[in-house]
Symmetry: C2
Subunit: 360 residues, 2 copies
Amino acid sequence: MADLAVEATATAADPANWTCPAPLRDQPVVVMGHGGGGALSAELIEQVFAPAYGNALLAGMTDSAVLHLGGARLAFSTDSYVVRPLFFPGGCLGDLAVNGTVNDLAMSGARPAYLSAAFVLEEGVELTVVERIARAMGAAAETAGVTIATGDTKVVESGHGDGVYVTTAGVGLVPDGVDIRPQRARPGDAVIVSGPIGLHGVAIMSVREGLEFGIEIASDTAPLAGLVVDMLAVTRDIHVLRDPTRGGLGASLNEIARASGTGVRLRERAVPVPDEVANACGFLGLDPLYVANEGRLVAFVPREEAEAVLAAMRAHPQGAGATLIGECVEEHPGMVVVATGLGGTRVVDLPLGEQLPRIC
Amino acid sequence: MADLAVEATATAADPANWTCPAPLRDQPVVVMGHGGGGALSAELIEQVFAPAYGNALLAGMTDSAVLHLGGARLAFSTDSYVVRPLFFPGGCLGDLAVNGTVNDLAMSGARPAYLSAAFVLEEGVELTVVERIARAMGAAAETAGVTIATGDTKVVESGHGDGVYVTTAGVGLVPDGVDIRPQRARPGDAVIVSGPIGLHGVAIMSVREGLEFGIEIASDTAPLAGLVVDMLAVTRDIHVLRDPTRGGLGASLNEIARASGTGVRLRERAVPVPDEVANACGFLGLDPLYVANEGRLVAFVPREEAEAVLAAMRAHPQGAGATLIGECVEEHPGMVVVATGLGGTRVVDLPLGEQLPRIC
C-alpha cells in the first residue's frame, strides 16, 4: 500500500500546494504532512505504527476500531486536537475534540457513550482559556448525549506546547447487524454527502490568515451520531460511513476506494460547495474537495436504499443538505474520478498531507 | 474539597521544594504544578473540569472510571505522557504510555484489553525516535497482554512540542463482584505496597540532571495487571488499589484517606526505600514518599486477608518485594501519618504538585 500511495501522489496535480514536499522514505524527520491525514499519514501507519504494534486492527483504516469485549461489540477511537487558533467562528478546540471522537465512533455505526479527555497544557496559558474549552466540551458532550467519564492533565514548560492540546478517546456500542467499514463499498452503491463541504477548513483559514471574505464563515463542527441513528433506522445495511475531516472529501473517498478495491465516480456539479467556500478556495488556490469538514459524513449505501436514506437524512438537522453526489463503480478500482460539467473527467488523488496544517 | 486541600497544603513542611508556589485561586495562569498530580491538579479537576463536564464520575478521583455498557462492566482510563527525556534507564515514553494506562485500568480490578495511542509529534523530530517509541509500546502491550487497537497522529510546528507526546486510553473488563475504589478503605485495612519505592523518579532525575549516584538506577516501569489478577484470586474483597505515580506514595495515600474519610498510619521503617533512592533523595533534599513510581501499587485489604494477599503478591515477579507498611485507622480521618523510628509521628501531606515536572 505504501509504495502505491507514494507513486499515486507523485502525480498529484499541484504538489506545491501541499505542506510537505516528499514521502516518508526520503524524510528521516517528521514533517507537517505526517499529521495531515493523507498519503504521508498512511505511510506512517503502515511503515511505523502497524509493524511496531504487531496487529491487524490498525490496518483497517477505519475511523474507529470495532472490538469484542464482555459480550458487547464496542467501537473505540481516539484523536488528538492541536487546532490553531484555539477559538474560531463556529466553535473551538473543545467542540472539535468532543464532536470529532463522537463522529469517529458514529462512523462505525456505534452509539457513542463515554469519552475521555486528556489535556496537555502549556505553562502560562490563562486558566480562563482552559475553562472556556472545558465548558465547550461539556456542552458538546451534552448535545451529543455522551459522558466525559475520565481525564488527565499534564503541563509542559512554556515554549513546548501551544496553549492547549486535547486528546479525546471514546467508546460506544455497535448495534447488532451493523457492519460499516470502508471495505464494504460495492459497485452500484450510491455516494451521499450529508451537507455542504469545506466550511471548517475555510473558517480556520479565514481567522488564521486574517482574510475577509465579506461574510463570516463558521465551522460546521457538529455531532453526527443522531443522524447515523436515523439512517440506520432506514436500513442496517449501510456499507460505509466516513467523516471527511483532514484531507477533505477527496482523501476520504480515496481511502474508501483503495480499501474496497472499487472506483468512485462523482458528478462535479452535484457536490455541494457553498459559494463562500468556492470563492475562498478560488482566492487561495485550493480545491474544496480537499478542505476539511468537522460536521459532515459521506455514506455508501445500496442504490435501492438511497432515496429512503436521503429522505431520512434531510429530516435531521445535521443532514438537511444531504445530496447524492455519485456512485461506486467497477471501473478504475482504487481511484476516484470526477465527471466535470464539460463532459470530461479528472482524477481526485489522495493528498500527500493536509493543505492547512493543524486544522483540527 | 478544594478549600480544604488548599488549607492543608499551606502547612506543608517545605513548600520551597514544590514546583509551584500558590494554589489555583491565586493563579490566573497554568503553572507546572497543575500537572503534578497533587493539590493543584485536584483543584483543577474540582474547579474547572468537573463543573464544565457536569458529571459525577470525575469526582470519584479513581485511576479509571467504571462504566456500564452493553451489559458489560468496563474500566476506561486515559493519560497523556510528556516525560523528559524521552529515553531513560529502564524504559522510555513508550513503555510508560502503555504501562501507565494498563495500570490505571488494573487499579479498578479490570483486565486491560485494548488501548488507543495518539501521538503529537513535533516537526523535525527524527522518525527513528518515533519508531523506537512505537516499538517499545508494541513490546509493552504484548507483555501486558493488550492490543493497541486504534490511534492518531498530529504534527505541530517546531517549537510547539518536545519531540513526542503520547496519549493512551484503554478499556478493560471488571470481573463480577469486584468493587475497588478509594472510598472503600476501612479502619482495620492492611496497607501493602508491592515493592521498593522511588525508582522511577530517581531514574528520571539522574539522567535529567546528569547526576551520578555510583550505580545506574533504572525506572520500575512495568505492567501490574497480572499481579492484580493473582491478588483477586485470593480475595475479590480488595478495597483499594492505586499506583503511586506523580506525587508518589504520599499523594496516593492522601487521596485514599480523603476519599474514604479514614486515617492512614504508616510505619516508617517498614516502607521499602532502596539505599540508592534514599541516598539520591538525601542528596537532592527530597522525600522518597513523594517520588514517582511507575510499576508499584498500594493496596488496602481486609486485615484477615493480608497474609494471603502478601503471599500471592510475593509469588508474582511484580510483587516480589511486597511489604505491609501500615494500616487504615479511625483516628485523624483524611490524614496520613508516619510513625517514625524514634517513637514520634509526622504528618504526610498532599503535595501541591510534583517535585519533578514532566516525570511521566
